[in-house]
Symmetry: C2
Subunit: 527 residues, 2 copies
């Protein structure tokens, strides 16, 4: 049957038919085999084994005998980024995305892509096992289809358009694994273009708007930029997690379904829970605090939190991933600040050391300055206000630091201390949740802090009130927590880091949706 | 002021007052200091520094001068499990939970607890810095209070009632950090008792019912059993996560808020989402599949999933933690089964090697056989049915394997293969979600599998249909996914592991609520 007709290479069903098949099944199999041979449909599974069988150019123009129940070939399928001149002459098997193709009569040059890496594939009549018919067939495969290529590695010199620059693959056989639609919502080339190309280029490029990207997020996610962004997202949680494990933290999973609405004043989603109301957690704060009363000493959680934010900003989502931690305090809430400061610097260091390729990949589309940090830079809220006033901020704004002034402060601090990362603590207590520990000297202040990256808040935390008497009586929303404190709870503090914000600001992506796999805001629930 | 009056040791507010305080703040501080000295309230913060100051027995009966704004002492606070005879004579500082106490006139023996470890503390008139008044004060501290003890390590021989058996702490000073209520819902001793103690003992013990425990979960979580269970829960995710990272998986975070109801037939919770309906994800299957179409190749997620199960069983929760993964398939869906099999065995091996203490701690309350596994044991659904029929199962039950027969099968397989861990695959397709890949030979079967521990399902997975045509038209609930497949998607498969089930079955806890920090079922939304 013709591969070109849209046949897919699927998996045969059994590892060891002789071992795993009853007589009944064997009979069924025989029957199915006969039926299949008579009328092979494009949707039926095709074996991979045939690729490895020695034949001429037949594979390329798609004549495969139907063969559904073989063992696995267990050949090595290679990653193109592993290729080097040492592989010249080697016969390899590559599954990849067809990124683009150029045809010149008897010759076709393809660029194939695996995540952030690309390789040139050469299909030429007279080379490998190819015919003119095959080059023709290849030329008709739509971009963004998944193809399987078997061929030989050949040395080339300094290719400009691929990430693998010193070798190419000379195709012997090629198969279509999954065909992409002939027309796509946008091209990957357009989706991968940097803003500066629009501004500086002479060509009139198609600009792919964020809304269009998010409506077609799967296609958008295929850009090397997005592949790198989500590798980096995964790296942030791993670096943080490894650090916290070394510091004796226990990873926990707290319920997102809660009986009470919100303890922190954030807007909350209501859930129909077996004929009564439940609410989605806006943070794991209360559960973390109960873990402190339950002797866990140090806990962290990486999981979703939900905020019913009915507004559209570049930095709010209705669902995001929080990196939350809570720890018992021995002497001073500075222990919490130190630990969080060390944790984030561990992340920054880890990204810089081990993810250069991914960072550079993102920067080609989103240019950014290197992220700078120093030994701990920590200002009190009052000192921050003083800096802003000295910079010309209006006195009417002394009460809080709004988003605009946060960014302004970021610029001031960067100029003064050469850092994109700093801490503000001792916030006025009226700006913080009511379970925040007041300052022992000035009752108008609190033992609370925010961390900033490039002038935007990425972490909010505090020492919490662990004494049920001090917490007061108006606490119905955190009754479970108050009950826990009555059982005796050590002093403790913690904070929550917004994963997407860290990523957005580290990479200067300018919109938090770019740092979320399938973002949710007040309007968006799909894909 | 009197420590015995319920004073807590809190943290002073600043690391470096000279550096961080403006003049205004300094004035405020002075004022507050004077005010505080005049009328120190029990809820005001007490410094830790005083403990380290040289004094006589005063610390013990609670006379601390108010001192709120000192630097941290930065002394080492020790973990009792780190103590050994090498520490004899050492002066140490320990924060711990007061587990129990015995008094004999001038002498008190306390047992203090840190998570799963316990230490004997000796308070004796004439030893350390103690007076009869102090022993009296100590005798009035309620069990489960948090205390701080400074004293000297002394050698002892073979203590029977503590985990630290060769040393004890001779108290010099003692402080109350957080007072527990005088009456507790149950005692930790009762909550820590094994079932067999009720059956065999002569004493009539109080049995603490699961419902009572869960209503007072924070207290319940303090038992060494529960401390160990949640250390092991954390270990399971770390072992799995480390394995998957080595296998080139990217960790992802998919939205729990979805526009469509359920793709798998599970019951779903409805959320009020800005005047329209959203639904909580019953699994990340669709998002994982979209990642396959988006070239991620291998992804996993550890996060909550939600099932509106309106029933009460020992193994269902309305919210649980799923360890989900999805991977592109090169040749055969056995690649997925192999990887999952290796991943779980890595977890079993890791627990056995590095968490012996925790496993033994749990076993003292929940006796269990060692968890056994072998090289891959994999039966087809038909073979499993044959085993059950040979064991006497009724022929009317051939269609599916219910919970009772699952357990029966578990016993049969354990007897036959000496394993608590096995795989069933090739389920009849009508038992699986409609997006499961059909067997290429027998269309009544599917390329799907379940994994079992001790005869209960812990993982369900399959190769998925990646071809939009084969998936058919009745797919409105997974429209985003179908759209993604039209962009070309490689063959892929995956599965979801229930974290709490793995823990429950590995440790034989008999109820899944015991493996969930704050469990949620159709009746329970708190704590």
């Amino acid at each position: 049957m013709a591969i070109a007709g849209g046949a897919k290479l699927c998996c045969p069903a059994r590892t060891d038919p002789a071992k795993n098949r009853s007589k009944k099944q064997a009979k069924l199999a025989e029957k199915a085999q006969r039926k299949a041979e008579a009328s092979a449909k494009p949707t039926e599974a095709k074996p991979v084994e045939d690729i490895a069988s020695p034949d001429s150019a037949e594979g390329l123009d798609g004549t495969l005998s139907l063969n559904q129940n073989q063992d696995r070939s267990r050949r090595d399928w290679i990653l193109i980024n592993d290729l080097s001149p040492a592989d010249v002459g080697r016969n390899v098997l590559v599954r990849a995305r067809l990124a683009s193709s150029r045809y010149q009569g008897k010759l076709a040059f393809l660029i194939v892509r695996q995540r952030i890496h690309t390789l040139q594939v050469c299909v030429a009549v007279g080379e490998g096992a190819t015919s003119k018919k095959m080059v023709q067939w290849v030329s008709e495969i739509p971009s963004e289809s998944v193809i399987l290529v078997e061929g030989t590695i050949r040395a080339v010199k300094n290719l400009k358009t691929t990430t693998v620059r010193d070798v190419e693959l000379v195709a012997g056989k090629m198969f279509l694994v999954a065909r992409a639609a002939d027309t796509l919502p946008f091209s990957l080339a357009d989706a991968s273009r940097a803003e500066r190309d629009y501004d500086q280029g002479k060509v009139q490029y198609n600009r792919v708007l964020l809304e269009t990207r998010l409506n077609n997020r799967v296609l958008d996610l295929r850009t090397p930029t997005n592949q790198a962004i989500f590798t980096l997202q995964s790296a942030v949680t791993h670096l943080l997690s490894a650090f916290l494990q070394r510091k004796a933290f226990t990873e926990i999973h707290t319920p997102k379904l809660q009986a009470g609405a919100s303890e922190s004043g954030s807007s909350v989603f209501k859930v129909n829970y077996f004929k009564r109301d439940a609410f989605l957690a806006v943070s794991p704060d209360l559960a973390k605090q109960m873990c402190m009363a339950a002797d866990f000493e140090r806990v962290y959680e990486i999981g979703p939190v939900f905020r019913a934010e009915n507004s559209f900003t570049h930095r709010h989502l209705t669902e995001f991933t929080a990196l939350d931690l809570e720890m018992a305090i021995e002497e001073h809430y500075d222990e919490v600040i130190s630990l969080l400061d060390d944790a984030l610097k561990e992340v920054f260091r880890g990204l810089k050391e081990a993810y250069r390729t991914e960072i550079d990949t993102v920067r080609r589309q989103f240019p950014a300055d290197d992220f700078k940090w120093q030994e701990r830079i920590r200002l009190t809220f009052e000192e921050a206000i003083d800096l802003l006033v000295a910079d010309g901020m209006d006195y009417s704004q002394l009460d809080d630091i709004d988003t605009t002034n946060e960014k302004r402060l970021g610029r001031i601090v960067r100029n003064k201390y050469e850092t994109d990362f700093f801490i503000i603590d001792k916030f006025p207590i009226h700006l913080r949740p009511f379970y925040t520990m007041p300052d022992p000297i000035d009752p108008a202040l609190s033992d609370s802090f925010d961390f900033f990256m490039r002038g935007e808040e990425i972490l909010s935390g505090a020492q919490r009130i662990h004494d049920p008497t001090l917490l007061g009586i108006d606490v119905s929303s955190m009754q479970s927590c108050v009950d826990a404190f009555k059982l005796g709870c050590p002093p403790h503090g913690g904070g929550g880091i917004g994963l997407e914000r860290v990523l957005m600001l580290y990479l200067q992506l300018n919109d938090i949706r770019r740092a979320s796999l399938f973002p949710r805001d007040h309007k968006r629930l799909t894909p």
